[in-house]
């Protein structure tokens, strides 16, 4: 009796918390306005635009070669794949016949990019949940990939290796050797990730059953990449709309059906294994030939509309060009995977605690420049 009275006297009230724009768990300048009752989340409202650079508007006055350079500032952890998306759109519009050598090299570097991105994500997810050491393990392995990129592409993060028509230059003589060395190294090190973090009971308790997303909701919210596949939704662009060399290789699409944070976590770990399989199928069979085909110095696309989907480390990136036949696009739209994945954050976080929000957000793997563009 007394207990009920006491409870009624203690009136609770909803209040707001600002998470970000400068918060370590938002991984960039993302501001979330949380409505909370005690520690239970009632509403999550993202406030975007802190690093919006209006890339789409800039594209309208840039040439197609220049646009490629803007795209690796979107999702900087998938910079190679972003470049590839624009190049593929332009090449398809011009109906260029791209040499097989280019397709294979693009695919290998794309998969290395995916591994590098997932390594960083794995390091950071541990840190978000209080396990600081994972960061160093993730970065140790990512460093080897960055060294390969540095040698071949001349840069470690914003590589700009793709140009419309092919690649900027041929691969470095060490490329094959070092990539193989990395695969051998990483095949031994990836099980270490499982031993360090996946099996950890504290980690599992914070991930399992947290941020559940059903398959229907995943499709409705336009989820893609590991977020969609963690809900059992087969959405791998590499499978359904193959580009570059993906139609020539066999690989499994990593799928989990639980839809919780742990499922999304395991999808990314499985994807790293699959990426290694893809690279191993291609690395010994890089076809001989040219590394680019000549294009006009001033590229003019024919009048019309062109759309290209690719699978970045975060999901489905779409490049949509409307051309009126001039050297600049009339309208250019980037359908970014992070933007759609962020839109479902409110859906999966409501009813959970603030700590669960950090876990859910870590498995969405948001890169803010990709959302803000």
């Amino acid at each position: 009796m007394e207990k009920t009275l006491l409870y009624e006297e203690l009136k609770s009230q909803e209040y707001f918390i600002n998470m970000g724009p400068q918060h370590p768990a938002t991984h960039g300048v993302l501001r979330l306005l949380l409505t909370v009752d005690g520690e239970i989340i009632k509403k999550v409202e993202p406030d975007l635009g802190y690093i919006h650079r209006s890339i789409e508007k800039m594209c309208e006055r840039d040439s197609y070669q220049q646009i490629v350079h803007l795209t690796d500032r979107m999702d900087y952890l998938s910079s190679h794949i972003n470049n590839e998306a624009v190049c593929l759109t332009v090449e398809n519009a011009l109906q260029l016949d791209i040499p097989d050598r280019v397709k294979v090299i693009r695919t290998i570097i794309g998969e290395l990019t995916r591994i590098a991105s997932h390594c960083l994500w794995w390091g950071v997810i541990g840190m978000d949940l209080g396990a600081l050491s994972t960061y160093f393990y993730g970065f140790r392995d990512r460093e080897m990939i960055n060294d390969i990129f540095e040698e071949t592409c001349g840069a470690r993060l914003t590589m700009n290796y793709n140009i419309p028509g092919g690649l900027m230059f041929d691969i470095h003589p060490n490329f094959v050797k070092r990539t193989k060395e990395f695969i051998t190294h990483f095949r031994n090190k990836l099980p270490e990730y499982d031993r360090l973090l996946t099996g950890n009971i504290i980690f599992q308790n914070r991930m399992k059953g947290v941020g559940i997303l059903s398959r229907e909701d995943a499709i409705s919210f336009g989820a893609s990449g590991p977020v969609g596949r963690g809900s059992g939704y087969s959405c791998d662009v590499r499978k359904h709309h193959p580009y570059s060399a993906y139609d020539k290789i066999s690989f499994k699409e990593a799928l989990q059906t639980e839809g919780d944070s742990f499922a999304r976590y395991r999808v990314r770990i499985d994807e790293m294994w699959e990426s290694m399989n893809i690279i191993e199928q291609l690395i010994d069979n890089i076809p001989e030939g040219d590394y680019k085909v000549a294009t006009n110095a001033v590229i003019k696309l024919p009048k019309g509309e062109f759309y290209q989907k690719v699978e970045t480390a975060r999901g489905e990136l779409g490049v949509y060009i409307i051309s009126t036949g001039t050297k600049n696009p009339y309208r250019m739209k980037f359908r970014s995977p992070g933007f759609s994945n962020l839109s479902l954050l409110n859906h999966i976080a409501v009813g959970g605690k603030i700590g669960d929000l950090v876990a859910s957000m870590a498995t969405l793997d948001l890169v803010i420049p990709d959302i803000d563009r």
Partner: protein, 153 residues
């Protein structure tokens, strides 16, 4: 369904539709703004079309008209359709919101509102998403100028 079959199937519906050219990458269909919502509902619910995945929603400023382009895909049949709708109203173009059909439209429509000033009727939370509340104008429109922040060639 293949492009031709899909076009035939949609032509049998009681909507005023005009289709794009054969050379287009995907099947394009233009629909009148008044019929948009009903058409979209049917595209999602009809088991033969079943467009359950809206993968891209964007607006285009054609200077005399404003257009909204919806890219749809069916996760069951794996066919793609591009739906387009145009309005002549430039000052405050109003279109129906499709956010209760596809949840992803909520954010994408807010983006289109933010940059193109298209008002989506019955949108649950139509306000600026990237820009500040007091921002004047809609930056991705062709006639937008900002002498302080833009390099005008």
């Amino acid at each position: 369904m293949q492009t031709e079959a899909l076009q035939k199937y949609l032509e049998a519906w009681e909507f005023e539709l005009t289709f794009g050219e054969e050379t287009d990458q995907f099947l394009n269909v233009n629909v009148h703004p008044h019929q948009l919502l009903e058409f979209m509902r049917k595209l999602k619910s009809d088991p033969e079309t079943y467009f359950d995945y809206l993968f891209c929603l964007t607006a285009v400023d054609w200077e005399s008209t404003m257009e909204v382009v919806y890219h749809l895909e069916s996760t069951k049949h794996r066919h793609i359709l591009v739906v387009r709708t145009k309005t002549d109203e430039r000052a405050t173009p109003v279109l129906d919101s499709v956010s209760n059909i596809w949840a992803t439209a909520e954010f994408h429509e807010r983006e289109a509102f933010d940059f193109f000033g298209i008002h989506f009727k019955d949108h649950p939370n139509l306000k600026r998403l990237f820009l500040t509340e007091d921002w004047k104008g809609y930056p991705l429109r062709k006639d937008y100028t900002d002498e302080a922040n833009m390099v005008i060639k």
